[in-house]
């Protein structure tokens, strides 16, 4: 039982980062392979604040998240003015740079030997509450004027620009939110595992997060939640197939991009609204979960 609680905690912690990237990718159309770097910033910052400065653990998490968000604004200023491919590369370079910097600052971060003895403070309830808060906050953000502007940027950047939306500004906002959540996720990870190593947040981590978002679908939080709950515990469930996991990831990604580029839940959400409608109109043929949300018009 304790074991499965652990799996749930890890999934919940990853979910926070995945939700952030789901907002960023799904609502701006940009892909990032550097969010492992933001997780590393959050993780190391919160751990070091707690160890070296004796900052209370939850405050350390918040500081880690804010720092990651702040760094993302600095990075985003030049990077978000780039075209899609260049942006991907810039984030890749950013993630690797962070990893290298952490690895090479032995005195501060323990370098490749890792950082042990991080104060605890995470349990299943903390994670669940934070997950829920993140989902609600993001849902409200997406429903707000800012969120709708983000969607406009994704769908038709030029058109959005001509009606007066400052596209770079909205990309920056989305990036900062997603980086902050990644930082929070990293900080929680640090407190849960109580040990940090630069390899925990390498390119593999960034790829895993982005793959979950691609699988879940673009422009949907429901999909992100489902994908996180599906992908992260997968290696635990399929122990014997563990080595094949990454091959399967790759295959899933290729198949999704070729066969169903919008992902499992692209541009749709499961909402309470939808369930209520399902109850009100029983004669309609059962067609799985009732979906609600913006119409897809890619």
């Amino acid at each position: 039982m304790e074991y499965w609680t652990g799996v749930l905690v890890i999934s919940g912690i990853n979910l926070i980062a995945i939700l952030g990237v789901a907002l960023f990718t799904g609502f701006t159309g940009l892909f990032s392979f550097g969010h492992g770097g933001f997780m590393a910033i959050g993780a190391y910052a919160s751990a070091l604040f707690a160890i070296r400065a004796g900052v209370p653990v939850p405050l350390g998490w918040a500081m880690g998240a804010v720092l990651a968000g702040a760094v993302s604004v600095l990075i985003g200023y030049p990077a978000l003015r780039l075209r899609g491919d260049y942006f991907v590369i810039a984030t890749l370079g950013f993630g690797e740079t962070i990893r290298l910097l952490v690895e090479n600052s032995h005195k501060l971060t323990g370098g490749a030997r890792g950082l042990p003895d991080i104060p605890p403070g995470v349990n299943i309830w903390v994670v669940l509450v934070l997950d829920l808060m993140a989902i609600i906050a993001l849902r409200n953000f997406i429903g707000s004027r800012h969120g709708r502007n983000c969607v406009a940027v994704r769908e038709e950047e030029t058109a959005a620009e001509t009606v007066g939306i400052d596209t770079t500004r909205y990309k920056t906002i989305a990036l900062a939110i997603s980086a902050g959540l990644a930082g929070l996720s990293g900080a929680l990870m640090a407190s849960w595992i109580r040990y940090l190593h630069p390899s925990m947040f390498g390119l593999n981590k960034s790829t895993e997060i982005t793959i979950a978002v691609i699988l879940g679908g673009q422009g949907t939080l429901t999909g992100a939640v489902l994908a996180a709950m599906l992908l992260i515990p997968l290696p635990e469930v399929l122990r014997m197939a563990q080595e094949w996991r990454l091959v399967a990831y790759g295959l899933i990604v290729v198949l999704i991009s070729v066969l169903r580029p919008e992902g499992l839940f692209g541009y749709r959400e499961i909402t309470f609204e939808g369930f209520r409608r399902l109850c009100r109109r029983p004669p309609s043929p059962p067609s799985g979960p009732v979906l609600n949300g913006e119409e897809a018009s890619p």
């Binding site: 260049y86 590369i89 790759g250 990604v253």
Partner: protein
Amino acid sequence: MLQQIVNGLSIGSVYALMAVGYSLVYSLLNFTNFAHGVVVTAGAYLAFFTLTLVRPSFAVALLAAMVGGGLLSITYEILAYRPLLIKGGRRLFLIIAGLGISTIGENLIILRIGGRFKAYPPIFPMEPLHVGPVEIAVVDIMIVAVSLIALLIFQLIISRTRAGLAIRAAAHNLATAGLMGVNSDALVILVFLIAGTLAGLAGIFLGVKYTAYPQLGAMTLKAFISAVFGGLGSLPGAVAGAYALGILETFVSAYISSSMRDVFSFLLLVLVLLFRPQGLMGRPSGEKA
């Protein structure tokens, strides 16, 4: 000082082989081929197995890596990129598919061959040549020479043959070239064949220099930086960028810190993207709506 330039030219040659492949695909299809690294890794392993299992001849290994790289490159183009190109989906899905391919490739190698480093059998004399104050390893001479020959042949294909003319036309506008009677499907395959062949060649050189291992393809990141530095889509730019990056890297390793080498490379990338996103020789271009 001179020594560092020689070392830089050697690694720069390998970067150039890979960077040209990036730029070539980009110039035609306007997307970054993230599966390029797998071909490099595959080339390194093919050469290793040719040398250890088939026959210990460098020429045969070279051929195996190039042919294998070319074929692998065509294979994933047809299986993964082609359906996406036909659908005309967003460019980013091509990037995602490429990353998927590279994830598959890297982990298949770990599963079937193992994650250990595979050192090549000694094929070149270890004793370096002394040219004045500079020591040059025979390997490095070989790398620079073969790379330059390969790049020269490539340049001749592009500038002198009908296929090269078609590629240059398609780089301006693939659809229009198709309307003018160029078989664009065949052309795309040809481009992936050339890129894959050069990547296989880069693979064997990286294998000789650093042994073969599953993550070897990550080296293509450097080639990508070179291609961006030189101007993505510009072939001479890719080569110039690759040599510049190779020399910069050896200088940073020698005089600043070898562990910070990659940080400097990425810093260069960020600076280029910030101040001259079209690179040294690229055409400035905005995102088309």
